[in-house]
Amino acid sequence: MRTFAFARADSVARAVESQQGDPASAFVAGGTTLLDLVKLDVMRPSRVIDINALPLNTVERLPDDRLRIGALVTNTDLAYHPDVLADHPLLSQAILAGASSQVRNMATTGGNLMQRTRCPYFRDAAAACNKREPGSGCDALHGVNRMHAVLGGSSECVAVHPSDMCVALAAIGATLTLHGPRGEREIEFADFHRLPGTTPYLEHDLDNELIVAVTLAPPLVPLGAAYVKLRDRAAYEFALASAGAMLSLDEELIGEARLALGGVATKPWRCREAEASLAGKRADTAAFEAAADLALADARPLSHNAFKIPLARQAIVRALRDAARRAREDDA
């Protein structure tokens, strides 16, 4: 673990200001990604700025009834927040399906968005990885790639975005508030994470900015939500495939549907075509399977992960089925 300078930020403006002109500086909030990777010599900040003293740790209801989540709200506090449980059960389910109690207690909302991939070649400083060391190649492409992406990959990178929380955010829809040298701006969650393409080292749309808040889109009404996470262990493991689904039902017809995938894609993966295919359909297996086929139409397997495509299909169908059941219960 290399050495670094350390500073504590006491305001958002000064935190952002302090980072300017120092590309090797990193913010630390929960620390669960940063310190893990610094110990592996994968992240090598020369300076770490502690932002935990910033006043970004509340969940507030805006006048338009949306929920605005401060970037420093911990995963645990968010998952158990009464307003989140009431409006966005999918978010709560997804967070509680991820990591461990301890990590959820440390990890923050903003930090979760900044979570790095678990690709073992990314995490091994001696391996070739275009994300870690641009131009060095990708050892995963023809290596042990069981855990890797079947959606959104490129010949440069097939690393999975590991977050569960972000799958829920993708399905729910959210707006991020970023604070940069030129003040605040807002960006849609869907536009925040980038596909690897030829620049896998560019993971998100931050431009010397700090994430200060995540504002959730209004919930569907009546709402059924289900997060189905499939993995080898029963807990404390990243997804092989996960699906977050939300439905509103009018009698047996689907009003609006939302669907996003985790564990199979290079970024939190929203399935808009599949969503559109469900609108107005009867909430039955045929519709769910057709939606799953659409969602995975572009999936491309690697040498060790072909199983992820049928597995993701099953996760989608089960998540939609369970969401529909809950919507019926909610309606009843």
Partner: protein, 174 residues
């Protein structure tokens, strides 16, 4: 001001903690990890290092009452915080009820993961947001690996401590 809290890589930083109820000041380097400072510098070796990457839970401590992996936290991030380790649980020479339950249920073998298991269990029992059913408890404890596999007895110890605690609370209410 930022300037007043900027520390160079080689400089020692003073960190003020309330450690097991006692104010402590430690001089640490900016990259020192809380776990290593507790163990190697402050001599509190009850908190264990198993993986050093937040994967095993042997280093679980309470920071401001919440269970956290001490291996994934800079010591300097803990300025002004209250930290409880396994050494701070027993009071007046009496085991904490969760420690006693672990002893009664043989909820350990080699004992190396036990401090972390106990710290997680205590935090879990104190967090009223987390339901007390067996499925939830198993998930909530899954961040603490036990390679000896004493999970059955650990679960029994936790649920026993929960019952006793509620019994007591019921008594207090009455």
């Amino acid at each position: 001001m930022m300037e007043t809290t900027e520390h160079s890589p080689e400089a020692a930083v003073s960190v003020h903690l309330t450690l097991n109820g006692v104010p402590v000041t430690a001089e640490v380097s900016p990259n020192a990890i809380l776990l290593d400072v507790l163990r190697e510098q402050l001599g509190l070796t009850g908190t264990k290092k198993g993986c050093d990457h937040g994967q095993c839970g042997a280093c679980t401590v309470h920071v401001e009452g919440r269970a956290m992996n001490a291996c994934l936290r800079l010591a300097v991030m803990c300025e002004g915080q209250a930290i409880t380790t396994i050494e701070g649980l027993a009071e007046g020479g009496r085991l904490h009820p969760v420690q006693q339950a672990f002893l009664d249920h043989d909820a350990f073998q080699c004992g190396y993961c036990s401090p972390g298991q106990i710290m997680s269990a205590v935090a879990l029992l104190e967090d009223r947001r987390v339901p007390g059913d067996v499925t939830t408890v198993r998930e909530a404890m899954s961040g603490n690996l036990c390679r000896c596999g004493a999970y059955q007895n650990i679960l029994a110890a936790i649920q026993d401590a929960r019952l006793r605690r509620h019994g007591q609370e019921g008594g207090d209410d009455a």
